[in-house]
């Protein structure tokens, strides 16, 4: 095929394999060849953001997967060849490195220094600067400079200066041997990054002599305090403090001990009213770690402040009293405010308001804009729980890759109990943020709504959307959602058939 020839032009070597290398490697492979996303995307006939998605964890499918696998395999063999013949690497790379220009300058943080300055790691002259700190990009150079001391020092910059593009190693790629550092005072220190989750699991397994069930039970029992410790740890050096006990307006307070407050979280509970005649195979899909993903949402930082008027400030978040717009697409798509029986104004959270505003915008134009009457908001950030979320997500991914059920259960208990005890729970008195609890839950519901919309957009038939993570669809959903256990993927909960001729019996 002609496309294959285009890739051949990029790669000298052949060899093809549909099994792709792991996600972390893909980006490194491309970058080490000094190829930009756009170049690769053009050769593969896809958009650059698609390539970005593959490098971030999505899986390509169909024959583009074959092409991408062909590229990665080729890149790998080419790099393997390049490391064996270190010296002659510059010439055959010609076309690739020429486009990339000075090579390392392409990376956001790495700068080439005109005059050598002392490396922050070893103190010897270095010609590169990462995030403002002059240093050797290759730990081997550091080591060489240290062992070679004074006689080696003047030769290091002189051998390096004519070939700035020879540094194929940049900090993103060297994860194995590198030492993470943090500036402390006028020096730097090796960053102290204890893996709280792994050490807790190891300690529990140790204590129960390797009995996985007992260790899991013990870990689940201490999941809430551990999650709070992890949260504190993840906020070290952060810009904002977690404010745990702000004054809350009455709408966020429970009216009775067992009652609810006045916030409508917009939990979806929607079933398509009717299906076209004939027999349909419905697949119930389950979104993995819905609440874990929902930790990324705009959270109000401080105490909520009252405001009135039909105005939404994107830099603030909170709860809003709105009159929801009419929804006319109930036959195909769930109502974004959930199955609300009562008409009239209601208190919704930030994610739902943003969802409604986006849907009322010119791009979607699915409904009228909601009318905002009052708001309780505070300055917001999306990054407050981001490190916390990423730590949990990474631990989860690693546990899935290693088949480590203990860590998996522990992580699951940590984030789910964290979300459910954020409010006025007696199980977690360290954090009384009822507003965050509602916002995070609503974000999960909004995320599910967007999944339903995506399915609808790609031509699937959405049958049900319910709870936080359940979506029933008809059609070839594998072309839309990747299947797997990662947070960006979905798994099958159930497959059933509906409707033999007349009288479609709806599955319960």
């Amino acid at each position: 095929m002609a496309d294959f020839e285009a890739i051949d032009a990029l790669l000298a070597r052949a060899g093809k394999d549909v099994a792709l290398p792991p996600v972390e490697e893909r980006r490194a492979l491309r970058q080490e060849l000094n190829l930009s996303r756009a170049e690769l995307a053009r050769a593969l006939g896809v958009s650059p953001s698609t390539v970005g998605g593959w490098e971030a964890g999505r899986e390509p499918s169909g024959d583009v997967r074959e092409k991408y696998g062909y590229f990665l395999e080729g890149a790998r063999t080419k790099l393997a060849a390049a490391t064996t013949e270190e010296v002659s690497v510059e010439e055959p790379e010609g076309d690739a490195s020429a486009v990339a220009g000075p090579g390392v300058g392409q990376d956001d943080d790495v700068d080439v220094l005109a005059v050598a300055r002392p490396c922050v790691l070893c103190g010897q002259p270095a010609r590169h600067e990462v995030a403002g700190y002059p240093q050797h990009l290759d730990p081997a150079e550091c080591a060489a400079a240290v062992t070679g001391t004074t006689p080696a020092a003047p030769t290091t910059p002189s051998t390096q200066s004519p070939t700035p593009s020879s540094t194929r190693h940049h900090p993103g790629a060297r994860s194995a041997g590198g030492v993470r550092i943090v500036p402390t005072g006028r020096r730097v220190q090796a960053a102290d990054t204890p893996d709280l989750i792994a050490s807790a699991v190891a300690a529990a397994l140790d204590e129960h002599a390797g009995d996985a069930d007992a260790a899991t039970a013990a870990l689940i029992k201490r999941a809430i305090p551990d999650a709070m410790a992890l949260l504190d740890h993840s906020r070290k050096g952060g810009r904002y403090d977690v404010i745990a006990h702000p004054w809350l307006p009455d709408i966020l307070r429970k009216q009775t001990a067992r009652g609810a407050d006045q916030i409508w979280e917009a939990r979806p509970k929607w079933t398509r009213p009717e299906l076209p005649p004939g027999e349909h195979e419905v697949t119930a899909l389950d979104v993995n770690g819905a609440y874990l993903s929902a930790l990324k949402t705009h959270l109000p930082l401080g105490q909520l402040e009252h405001s009135t008027g039909d105005h939404h400030d994107r830099r603030r978040a909170g709860v809003h009293l709105i009159t929801p717009p009419a929804w006319e697409h109930d036959a195909f798509l769930p109502n974004p405010i959930g199955s609300r029986d009562e008409p009239g104004p209601l208190w919704v959270t930030e994610p739902i308001l943003r969802l409604l505003l986006r849907l009322s915008g010119p791009k979607y134009a699915l409904c009228e804009p909601p009318e905002i009457h009052e708001s309780w908001t505070s300055g917001a950030t999306e990054g407050l729980l981001e490190k916390f979320r990423v730590a949990l997500k990474d631990a989860r991914e690693r546990a899935i890759a290693d088949g480590d059920e203990v860590t998996l259960e522990y992580v699951k208990a940590m984030y789910s109990k964290f979300v459910s005890t954020l409010g006025e729970s007696n199980y977690n008195r360290e954090l009384y943020r009822t507003d965050w609890m509602h916002l995070i839950r609503s974000q999960a519901f909004a995320n599910l709504w967007w999944k339903a919309h995506r399915a609808y957009d790609e031509g699937l038939m959405v049958v049900r959307a319910m709870g936080t993570d359940e979506l029933h669809v008809i059609g070839d959903w594998r072309a839309v959602f990747p299947e797997g256990r990662g947070v960006t993927e979905v798994k099958i909960k159930d497959v059933y058939t509906v409707g033999v001729g007349p009288g479609p019996d709806d599955h319960g």
Binding site: D241, P246, Q303, R429
Partner: protein
Amino acid sequence: MPERNIEFGKYGARGIKGHEAVARQLDALAGYITTPVTVRRGLLARLHYLTRTDHARTAARVAGLTVTDRTLRAWIDGRRAPSRKNLERIDQAYRTVRRQNIARYLTARLNREGRGTRVEIHPLNQSGVDRPRQRVVEFRTLNVRRWDRIVAAWAAGDDPELDNAWIDQVVDLGSQWGQYEYVTNIGFAA
């Protein structure tokens, strides 16, 4: 401003005394019976709490529930209903006894073997103050290590003593502590 305020609210600032906010939070942590005393269920729960043991009866009597045992039994059996004044007394006695009962445990929880508890101080509300007179008063946190005096004063219902005990802690905020004499909220966990 290393002094107590003299005319708080003169320019429109709003807030409550720090020690009132502390008492409110301690009350929330104490977890009283939620059902009001005016409902039979709430009344019975309180009476049972106050008559469960001889010790509880004595404590209730000291706390101001000076009625005969016969009257108490009549209230519990439902043969008579307490007057409005007595309902108030029952509720007050219940709160006092409950506070005294949990004070020791609460102190231990808050002291955390000397590590103390982190307290969040949310500054007073200046939205009613003219712009030129508004001051930057930040959200502050403070680690309180010794809670004995605070909890004891709260359990005894001694407001001036609670105020003094709390101000003694707030002084650790630095020379600006007077700005935190009045607050919107004080939050801590136990």
